[in-house]
Subunit: 392 residues, 4 copies
Amino acid sequence: MPHRAPGALSKGPANHLSGRPIRYYRPRGSADVRQLIEDGFQAFNAARLGEACRVFSDKMLLPEHDTTIGLTVAGALTPAGLGGCMVELMERGLVDFLISTGANLYHDLHYALNFTLHRGSPFVDDVELYEDGVIRIYDVLFPATVLLETDAYIREFLVRWGVSAPVSTAELHYALGRDLLEQKPGCEEYSVVAAAAEYGVPIYTSSPGDSSIGMNVAFHELMNDSSLMVDPSKDVNEICAFILAGKKNGCVILGGGSPKNFYLQGQPTLWEVYGIPKGGNDYFIQFTTDSVVWGGLSGATPAEAVSWGKVNPGVLPDTVVAYCDSTIAFPLFCEYVVGSQHGRRRRKALMHQRDECVLALKREARVTHAAGTVVAPVEAGPDGTSGGKQHR
Amino acid sequence: MPHRAPGALSKGPANHLSGRPIRYYRPRGSADVRQLIEDGFQAFNAARLGEACRVFSDKMLLPEHDTTIGLTVAGALTPAGLGGCMVELMERGLVDFLISTGANLYHDLHYALNFTLHRGSPFVDDVELYEDGVIRIYDVLFPATVLLETDAYIREFLVRWGVSAPVSTAELHYALGRDLLEQKPGCEEYSVVAAAAEYGVPIYTSSPGDSSIGMNVAFHELMNDSSLMVDPSKDVNEICAFILAGKKNGCVILGGGSPKNFYLQGQPTLWEVYGIPKGGNDYFIQFTTDSVVWGGLSGATPAEAVSWGKVNPGVLPDTVVAYCDSTIAFPLFCEYVVGSQHGRRRRKALMHQRDECVLALKREARVTHAAGTVVAPVEAGPDGTSGGKQHR
Amino acid sequence: MPHRAPGALSKGPANHLSGRPIRYYRPRGSADVRQLIEDGFQAFNAARLGEACRVFSDKMLLPEHDTTIGLTVAGALTPAGLGGCMVELMERGLVDFLISTGANLYHDLHYALNFTLHRGSPFVDDVELYEDGVIRIYDVLFPATVLLETDAYIREFLVRWGVSAPVSTAELHYALGRDLLEQKPGCEEYSVVAAAAEYGVPIYTSSPGDSSIGMNVAFHELMNDSSLMVDPSKDVNEICAFILAGKKNGCVILGGGSPKNFYLQGQPTLWEVYGIPKGGNDYFIQFTTDSVVWGGLSGATPAEAVSWGKVNPGVLPDTVVAYCDSTIAFPLFCEYVVGSQHGRRRRKALMHQRDECVLALKREARVTHAAGTVVAPVEAGPDGTSGGKQHR
Amino acid sequence: MPHRAPGALSKGPANHLSGRPIRYYRPRGSADVRQLIEDGFQAFNAARLGEACRVFSDKMLLPEHDTTIGLTVAGALTPAGLGGCMVELMERGLVDFLISTGANLYHDLHYALNFTLHRGSPFVDDVELYEDGVIRIYDVLFPATVLLETDAYIREFLVRWGVSAPVSTAELHYALGRDLLEQKPGCEEYSVVAAAAEYGVPIYTSSPGDSSIGMNVAFHELMNDSSLMVDPSKDVNEICAFILAGKKNGCVILGGGSPKNFYLQGQPTLWEVYGIPKGGNDYFIQFTTDSVVWGGLSGATPAEAVSWGKVNPGVLPDTVVAYCDSTIAFPLFCEYVVGSQHGRRRRKALMHQRDECVLALKREARVTHAAGTVVAPVEAGPDGTSGGKQHR
């Protein structure tokens, strides 16, 4: 069995795909769930989850704070059906921009295109799946044809779009979302990418080549001689500009990984690179199962982030890390938030304010650089920390 | 304390920086360590670590296999001093290309530029560190000036380099490495980026905007009106092309995260997007503390990867996941490998074969597409899995 | 600060104890929570949690199965206020016996005795807490006097009880519960130990010396020259006897640890030691954050348990491990279960059937031993696995 | 397949048992390993492992400290072949008493009795193993007959020993060790239980019924009408007495679980129950993969233990938790320690000082109680924390 022969999915994969279809669940603001969280979640991670709900509902959403809220998404959340929670938050104006792994956006397209992913088991024979042409994401199962047809859609969209220049990922995803809205009217109800386009929520991805979307963009460049390309610098500058423009800034981090880091580096970019003294995050909520003791950068705690200027040192009480699988924590969090007093805000529609924000960033950076407040490279000082020959 | 005022590092951070300097440790092939692994590591993760050593030494390095070996790097490994292990493997021809988080490459520059990072404790007061201008990566401590001066070096290099066009990350890192070799002769002994340039090992990063290198490239674009940009599609195509050219393919994955995914998507890109029936990985070694039960895509096991065609179904015995902090596992692994029979190979110097390999990929993709073997988007079939209106 | 001077709790700990009091939350069978679990928990651990709910409600509680259900409890669950879930399950006849760490039973006494534990933060200064006489269990805080007075109550109870002979832990906890019911009428509403006594649910502890209850029993023996002692053999035989008597057997395992192992060894004891061919568990539900890859015995999966005869090989579909903090998973599980069709059963009151069951065990063991079906120690066979001199 | 028919192991399990036999590895004090730890383990858990080595070698073993050292053992370490490390430490006088799960002692008997456990894989079919009569502990495999014959040996020993009274687990394990030394001369080289008896190191188990040793003691009571029983109170008092007698106290904790808790409750028992103001631990070393964020009591950090008086607040710098699988960390630690300056001490042989130590404990407790320094149960104070009616 030297390789998968694409398209040669001879045997019926039907038996692996008998589980219930996965549907995007939309949170409804249940009072029962709210009460369980308030009265039954009293200690350990249950209490942290409750704190996260309250920090978001009672502080981040407070109208006078006008917090600019980023949501970062890692882990296979759209395959698990959690895209509905994201759609609900965007529709209600409760998140202002997204940073996601490419995979979550790619798999969201399956829903938009009306393909079906199925509930399944993680304890299946992968060699058998391989032979039957069934793809597995932990316990989510679907035919390999879903990949092939979604890929074909992306390549057709790229041709249809016709842009042949560098773009930010927000532009790419926005164009994709507009195309989906056109091809599949109504799909903003069950597609994150389409809903984001509808509501003007920019979606970034920190690793643009690292998903089937990026793979098809690469195909487009190599085989169609297109000059369409993602320019990550645009993403860096747009996110920095949003943070600079925010009255207060806060985030909800699902998982961690490079989306988390991409968001959190916004503040250090401002002071470290642009020389602009904007403070760190005011609010910080994370749901993760990583553990700081294993030392991954993406597992860094709000406390460690303080030393980098990523989190305002005065706000540690408004930072919460709840250690729980996002598939459990995020729907509970959304039920609480959606049912809370400020559970709907005017949408910021940052998608349409990118140029203006970046111009403001450039203007302010010009001022600080002209004023010479940026640290220039210095010669080795007596403490030996400023370069020199002391190494080895 | 509204924000960090860059450069205003008034109070002496000296007391936090009294720990031993971190130096790049170079593995030596100790026979004692080998014996401990063979005879003392008999079960559980110790046994997996031993298996990883044997799969690499006895199979991947076997001359007749001529395995193309990728090393992916996530987690703060250069700050922890593990860059010396990578330098040793590259110098000996034991890894052919790297995919790393940007952070590991950025922090490697500190070593190249002779700044000093210190051993410390994770139990320190971050607000105090912040006030003293000391940066913390878990238990690694160094002055914030190290960041500022490394950033200034990067911006100067970008001006010096003068390229104003899209490049792959391999080109960017190679140019950076050549510059380091020129500015700090001999630094290939204690810099991964410099050593890679010296030995022709291409280094990719899956999230090019997600590190201080990317942040300074973004500054260069915005403030210097440069058209230098990273084109992730080039990275995707170069890695695909290496895998296609490989007689056998194998990987060593440190941590996981987007570097892992970026490497592993090479095979699916070939069959799913380019329609080229190249099989999956022949060898797969991972050191991680992630757990598959938490479901992160980057935590996917070799078994799950089989269903995606990322790992050859016949080679599961040659796949090993050892659950252990890389800071412990990787030096042990390198001691074993360096001291093994085939502990030195002719270097492939893939850095200088990128264009040729990508051309071969393009040629082969043209053939399969002309032959019509790629799956075209199909209409909804009776099983409802090929799109349609059945959603909701 | 050489030691804690007992009783010398000078400074007011008031400021650490300003958090909301922790109350035992009683699940109510919310339809909203049920719907969230059914429709929103579709993949990964959310799906496993849903499966656990359905295995318990639809199979274990099916009247014709008459499953004997053990609940094992590890982790600080009563301090976290989860005792109310256990009380609810016992009152409804949904669990038939408990195996708990001693700590959970000891801390339950605080509730019975009307002391107050407070919600708090895990990020507090422990040296300050120590000086202020405040005890911390992760984020649960209470005065050290609560320990001292609970201890004094236990020692008084032991004197009042007057038993001076070996007992099983079930007898000890039952007597303690009866005493509580007498001293604090109505406390069965907010005490696991009291409720268990009221409803005839025996509570075992696998490590009888390993808690403040055991510490005070040890004091009683040393200082009062009592012959009261826990005889662990009685516990082993009583649990074996319950399992032997069960029509079907199933368990809900919170955490893992020695309570889990103590329960699961019941089946091996029957076949391996007593020579009685009773099969393994029919149902197995576990909520844990342990991971099998770290190899703890208490982290063993249902699959591994099959090789030991602890789990019936045919029933793996009825085994579920959901990886989630019990403080989140258990209340959700109980809401679902309490609201399900068979959410109330006739209580088995096994506390009062212990002697009868143990006699039946003894009788059946006599029969198998008389029949000579137990394996006698054999001489070394040719495969060298039956003892001999081949070692080293 | 309703149950395992004991003894009916028809099909040859040979194919599962082809892996290398597991042998007890004895650390040798390798200078190479020491250097790797000193120079290569610079940050994250590698650094913690190095710190643990130095705290043990340079502080705990310092002759003038005369530290009483407890080793607690959880996780399947003897099956993994790590018993050799324990034997080496006992022989050199480097640990003074052990607290272990019963399972580790039970499986140690297989080595003493010359049965063979094999290296294997965790990825095997458990139903097949079950049918073939092969037992699996993660990746350690052996015939089910090994269990049956080890059990038979235990039951014969219990008859041979003839004691019919309450004993501490130290007495039980000592008698077992003496019997092994007699039955299998020389086995102290490859049996923890035998070596402990030889060197006078008492071994305790926190959950005496929770292993096959306890299961056979239970059989002995039920079927042979013996009055032999483990009295956990004796264990509690003996360990308290050792700690009270220690000039300095320190521990090495492998894993966590109830053995850890059993050791650490020694200090609280002294002040909380006996009213003796002996301070907490002076040194604390733990190798674990648990994470404090999941909140298990056994995952409590040294910091949290301070609030309980389990760890001296002044000594937090001498407490180290290294997050690593014991199968990797413990052999490395032992290589370092065995090769260190004070790598051999006069053995304390505490096994033979138990009565004397317990008498001293009783004497001192009498004094404090006579002096009335123990806190008596007090009436509810105005802060509502001392009992009363405020609950609900």
